[in-house]
């Protein structure tokens, strides 16, 4: 019934749009260091942390110190997580007695979780202990999200300040973001998820007797072992922090992570919530709310168009299956309880936002339904994108759009009262192109090496899509997969880890550097020669710039992958 699906989409968009302002202005208050409703609880903890860590709250860093602090914070995260993974068997809370991760898998996983990617070459329920999940992976779910948001804060300050080198204090921003924003939202979300059946316990795995013994290849299977664990607490931050790493192998397709149609809707909502609200935070902090809404509308417009394509394609059928006399929707890899609408909403949201949680196996989606998530990632994750990183990447695209438009119509390139000059353009280009270059290089390497090609599961054009998806996902820090690709090989563990590292830190450092350059500039009040960046013509122009960069870079790959597969499928080959 398409009507109920359309209602679901509309309610989703309205609900998200209604929450952009309240959450966005709350976050602006937090970032500006103002008092909030939660100060009573968290302010004493905050002060205590600064005291022990010897941090002066009023001290501000220049771009270099800010960038180094960010890298130190992430490096500590990497070392701690890597050690937890490798030493797993010696640590507590391991009721199933899992061994430590292999070195290459531990390297890949640690990189994946500190970069907010959550690419997973393992399955949680048969590899990771509760200690690993809770103190290793979930901690990085918080801290990698914090990193993204704090880098965005530096950029915002670059615009709001003039003739200074001060960009704020990385440690203060990190503590405040964790305590006042991510923590309370996660508790709320986890409680709602638990009420619906998402599990949260520390029991060892439970054995139940099957209602009917099952005979499989001559052997009788009479029991089912149900994995347990602290899932809800991890699920909440996995989504809110746009991380996407599942507690279980099946991620949000697993009934213990995502039990019904409501939770599916709610989880998609949690994914998009903070990235959407940050647009308002941006507008509020630069004292130009219209600009914030303009960015929100650009993102929302692209989101709606891609959701429409995804949903329309998913309503179609696979002629190779339906000609066998099969009726009903094509649902290989999908759960009955979510429906085509819920699955389309989730697949679009999780790739528009750089989350990477999946409620269906994207590898099994129809060709165009699998292409939409690929394209959303290849557009550098700017359709909302990861927490913080989505918006700062979008701002890099705005700078490019302003510059190009300025060249074409002879106006001075300015954005928010700051002149766009050589340094800003270089950094914007680096931010916008890094992931695309990584995808092209690594996809090519994978295709000309035996180690790369031998991991493919599905033959023909679909195999190209699998590899393209893997590097689109890792270079853009999304983390979802065409999971048929066997990713737990030395080749893929190393190459995807490099793609994740470069895809995360080169743009982040470039943004901090650009923030420093912007903060030092004078404020230039808008004149007749200034291009208005909060009006519809510029919004349309911005969308075109984003699409042209994405489409031109990857058109041939998409033609050889999903488009070709779609043609072959419709022909019945």
């Amino acid at each position: 019934m398409p009507i109920s699906d359309i209602i679901q989409f509309l309610v989703f968009i309205v609900l998200v749009s209604l929450l952009v302002k309240p959450l966005g202005s709350y976050m602006a208050n937090v970032f500006n260091g103002e008092k909030t409703v939660l100060s009573l609880v968290f302010r004493p903890i905050e002060i205590f942390i600064y005291k022990i860590a010897n941090i002066d709250e009023t001290y501000e860093m220049n771009w270099k110190e800010f960038a180094i602090s960010m890298l130190i914070f992430n490096a500590i995260g990497f070392v701690v997580l890597f050690l937890i993974l490798v030493l797993q068997q010696f640590l507590p809370l391991n009721p199933q007695h899992f061994k430590g991760f292999n070195l290459d898998l531990a390297f890949n996983t640690a990189v994946s979780f500190i970069t907010n990617t959550n690419w997973q070459a393992y399955s949680g329920e048969n590899t990771a202990s509760y200690f690993t999940q809770m103190l290793g992976l979930a901690v990085q779910n918080f801290l990698s999200a914090v990193t993204g948001i704090v880098v965005l804060l530096a950029l915002i300050r670059g615009f709001t300040r003039k003739q200074t080198t001060n960009l704020g204090n990385f440690w203060v921003d990190s503590v405040r973001t964790t305590l006042y924003i991510l923590l309370p939202l996660s508790v709320l979300a986890a409680v709602i998820l638990m009420s619906q059946g998402v599990i949260q316990n520390f029991s060892s795995y439970k054995t139940v007797q099957l209602l009917e013994p099952y005979i499989n290849a001559g052997k009788v299977v009479s029991h089912q072992i149900l994995p347990m664990g602290p899932v809800a607490s991890q699920e909440a931050i996995k989504l809110l922090g746009t991380n996407g790493g599942g507690f279980f192998g099946a991620n949000s397709a697993h009934p213990f992570e995502n039990p019904n149609g409501f939770t599916n809707f709610f989880e998609a909502f949690l994914i998009i919530l903070i990235p959407a609200a940050l647009t308002y935070t941006f507008g509020s902090m630069i004292k130009n709310k219209k600009q914030g809404w303009a960015i929100y509308l650009v993102m929302l417009t692209m989101f709606v168009v891609f959701l429409g394509i995804e949903y329309t394609s998913s309503l179609g059928n696979d002629p190779l299956i339906s000609r066998l006399g099969v009726t009903g929707h094509y649902i290989e890899g999908q759960e009955v309880r979510f429906g085509i609408g819920g699955t389309s909403l989730f697949a679009t949201t999780t790739t528009a936002v750089a989350c990477g949680a999946v409620d269906a196996m994207h590898d099994s989606l129809l060709p165009i339904s699998g292409m939409v998530p690929t394209v959303l990632m290849l557009l550098s994750e700017v359709v909302f994108g990861g927490v913080g990183s989505g918006l700062y990447t979008m701002i890099a695209f705005i700078i490019i759009a302003v510059f190009v438009a300025g060249l074409m119509i002879g106006r001075t390139p300015e954005f928010l009262g700051k002149k766009i000059e050589v340094k800003e353009m270089w950094m914007a280009i680096i931010v916008a192109l890094t992931s695309g270059i990584l995808v092209l290089i690594f996809t090519t390497i994978a295709f000309i090496t035996k180690a790369g090609v031998s991991s493919i599961l599905n033959p023909g054009p679909h195999g190209l899509s699998e590899i393209l998806y893997a590097f689109a996902s890792t270079a853009n820090n999304n983390g979802s997969a065409f999971a048929g690709l066997n990713a737990d090989t030395v080749f893929y563990n190393i190459t995807t880890a490099i793609a994740m590292l470069i895809g995360r830190y080169i743009p982040a450092v470039a943004i901090i550097y650009m923030s420093g350059a912007l903060a030092q500039k004078k404020y230039t009040p808008p004149s007749v020669g200034t291009l208005p960046t909060d009006k519809v013509p510029f919004m349309v122009w911005l969308i075109l710039v984003i699409l042209i960069v994405g489409a031109l870079t990857f058109f041939s790959a998409l033609a050889l992958g999903p488009f070709l597969e779609n043609i072959l499928m419709l022909r019945g080959a």
């Binding site: 048969n126 409680v191 059946g197 007797q209 299956i321 009726t327 429906g339 023909g460 597969e565």
Partner: protein
Amino acid sequence: MKNLKSGLIVFAFLFIITGVVYPLIVTGIGQLVFKSQVNGSLIYIENKPVGSKLIGQPFQNPGLFWSRPSSTDDFPYNALSSGGSNLGPTNQILVKRVEERIVYLRKNDFKGQIPSSLVLGSGSGLDPDITPQAAYSQIPRISMYTHIPQNVLKSLVSKHIKKRQLGFLGHDRVNVLELNLALIKMEKDYAGK
């Protein structure tokens, strides 16, 4: 150097707050308020767990409703290894598997058109549900083996349909394990008559 020290201390605090305090608070709330849900929504019969409402089980008995196919490792509905087949829509292996499943259904007295949820596997491999059509379509076979009249089975299925939440979230579905538990109970009643 100063930043490294500050960083280590800030990290330690946030590690404890997000990695220990937070999950313990959530667990506390869950175990107090949502005891059944957070422990796996288990179904008990005579104090013995027979499964979870949320995790599907495989069935072969022609007198019971069957679940969706599952491609989990080792055997279907292996909850230790959730995941889908990951076969793409044009993969001949997928087509062949669907053909085999159709042959198997036909061999077991399945008549009429084949609903997709009986031949296409889920993403988790643990899907507890089938569509209402897939449940109705199995009634002739079950009636033949259990001697329960078809209209009785029909009303049993329709009683077990879970509608979309709030009318627009998700999809209508039937939980196979719950349906079969009700069916087994009904069978006993019929055998008693």
